[in-house]
């Protein structure tokens, strides 16, 4: 089923005060960020959307698809479900093998079970030590679990609306994870504390006290800043891989040049010239 937009109609914050943001429309191809301090209600907002709340949650928000209240089946049947969600969970509780789990989930979503291999292949590009089909789910590390959840959502729960809650916090390759989840023409909402991910979105919802406080458009300046941030982030990720693989560093030398090049590309070029 194609959808043209999803609408979030504001409810009330933790103190029962009406949310300043009354309505948000998100259309296919748009990526929205959700930012705010811990406890400000970011995950609750995502969970309201996942459940397609109809005034029946704590916030009393309502979620509409194409200006209409979604049917009971759309809200509950995984085969018709419009929404895929990566929550903050870092571990599986189901006591079964990775393979059995993925086969069952493929069945629930009405997806061919041949896709199970693809989930594993993708998951293993996102995490360090490989995950095998015969592993028990519960022995997977936080990062492996998260990588498997991301790959499962990308391949099996392929849905027009994707909700991602702090994909950066499990030590998996966040850009690769995001690329796998964010297909063309999808509606994407990303909860994040990461400035790189936050500035990659078109708009960001600022949460406070359980309510949607403001909606900020990403500015031209921020898009320029994003390019520099990406370079710094890339550097940090490369250093992280070095630490992970047990390498040592000899002082500042290794990063100074890269950092200067990133932050002051022109100045640096002029100097060498």
């Amino acid at each position: 089923m194609d959808i043209r937009k999803i609408t979030i109609i504001g409810g009330y914050d933790k103190h029962g005060i009406k949310e300043p943001v009354e309505q948000i429309d998100v259309r296919p191809g748009e990526m929205f960020g959700v930012v705010g301090p811990t406890g400000s209600g970011k995950s609750s907002l995502i969970s309201d959307i996942e459940q397609m709340a109809q005034g029946d949650t704590f916030s009393r928000r309502r979620v509409l698809l194409d200006d209409r209240v979604p049917s009971y089946e759309t809200r509950t049947d995984p085969r018709k479900k419009m929404i895929a969600q990566i929550s903050q969970n870092m571990s599986f509780l189901a006591d079964m093998s990775v393979g059995d789990f993925l086969h069952l989930h493929a069945k629930c979503r009405g997806v061919r079970t041949s896709q199970v291999r693809e989930v594993l292949r993708l998951a293993n590009t996102l995490t360090g030590e490989p995950i095998r089909e015969d592993y028990n789910l519960t022995i997977l590390s936080g990062g492996q679990s998260r990588a498997l959840m991301v790959a499962d959502v990308a391949v099996i729960s392929d849905s027009p609306i994707v909700l991602i809650d702090e994909v950066e916090n499990a030590g998996i390759r966040k850009h690769e994870a995001l690329n796998a989840l964010v297909g063309n023409g999808k509606i994407v909402m990303v909860v994040t504390h990461d400035p790189v991910l936050a500035l990659m979105t078109e708009k960001r919802i600022v949460m406070k006290n359980g309510g949607m406080r403001t909606l900020i458009d990403t500015t031209q300046g921020e898009t320029e800043l994003l390019e520099s941030l990406k370079s710094i982030d890339g550097l940090l990720l490369r250093l992280r891989e070095k630490v992970r693989s047990g390498e040592s560093f000899d002082g500042n030398g290794q990063i100074r040049d890269v950092l200067m090049q990133t932050l002051y590309p022109k100045t640096r070029n002029e100097e060498t010239a």
Binding site: S47, Q51, P78, F92, A94, H105, C108, D152, V153
Partner: protein
């Protein structure tokens, strides 16, 4: 009088989701009475008491709490009538997976804990397979995929049930639960029957034998290899 019977394993969140749902029903002017049946101890009456609705506790002691609930049902309904309630909610202890305390005319609600693992629905037995509504709790603690598998397994056991996801802490989903409760039928206390027979109680253990050695056991005994014998006169 509407009768709603709520079953579910201990700690699955029966009381938590009921407290939220009853609060919503109270706010919309419905008068409910609650009976909590347990074996040895409960303080759920205090939790329900905060809602300012009539609460009664039944402790079955060394009796099966489901049997206790069933043969006390008439008294409970009369008590609820005296309270001028239009709805009686019976929350059971939820210990044994062999019983289903639902009557044919009541609304049977099973509360299932999603963190208990995807094969749990296959183990819950008649209190899941004969329920009208299944309220799935703690879904926020597992991944979306695990939730979807859990739901599928419930439908394998009980294809006709309606499934609601609810959060006993935040109350999310409990409004839909309260709406479901209002759809309960009025029960006729003289003609109503159980949906599922109560467990067999046919051996000497049922009447208080405590010795373990097999020479002391009489009655209908089922062996672990599947054979069933009658020992006795």
């Amino acid at each position: 009088m509407k009768l709603i019977v709520v079953a579910g394993t201990p700690g699955s969140g029966k009381t938590a989701v009921l407290v939220h749902a009853l609060k919503i029903l109270g706010e919309s002017g419905h008068r409910c009475s609650v009976v909590k049946v347990d074996c040895l101890y409960t303080d759920d009456d205090k939790r329900f008491g905060k809602l300012n609705i009539p609460v009664m506790v039944g402790l079955s002691k060394d009796m099966c709490p489901d049997h206790f609930a069933i043969y006390n049902l008439n008294e409970m309904l009369e008590w609820a009538k005296k309270n001028e309630s239009d709805c009686l909610i019976l929350e059971t202890a939820g210990l044994c997976h062999r019983c289903a305390p639902y009557s044919k005319e009541c609304l049977g609600v099973c509360v299932a804990d999603a963190t208990a693992g995807p094969n749990t629905p296959l183990k819950l037995g008649p209190f899941l397979s004969t329920a009208d509504f299944v309220v799935v709790t703690k879904g926020d603690m597992i991944s979306q995929a695990e939730r979807e598998i859990f739901r599928e397994k419930i439908l394998e056991v009980n294809p006709k049930c309606a499934i609601l996801e609810a959060n006993g802490l935040s109350g999310q989903g409990c409004a839909a639960f309260s709406e479901a409760m209002l759809k309960a039928n009025d029960v006729s206390d003289s003609e109503d029957r159980l949906r599922h027979s109560a467990p067999l109680a046919v051996c000497t253990l049922c009447v208080g034998e405590t010795r373990i050695n097999k020479e002391y056991h009489r009655g209908v005994l089922r062996k672990i290899d599947g054979f069933q014998t009658y020992v006795g006169e």
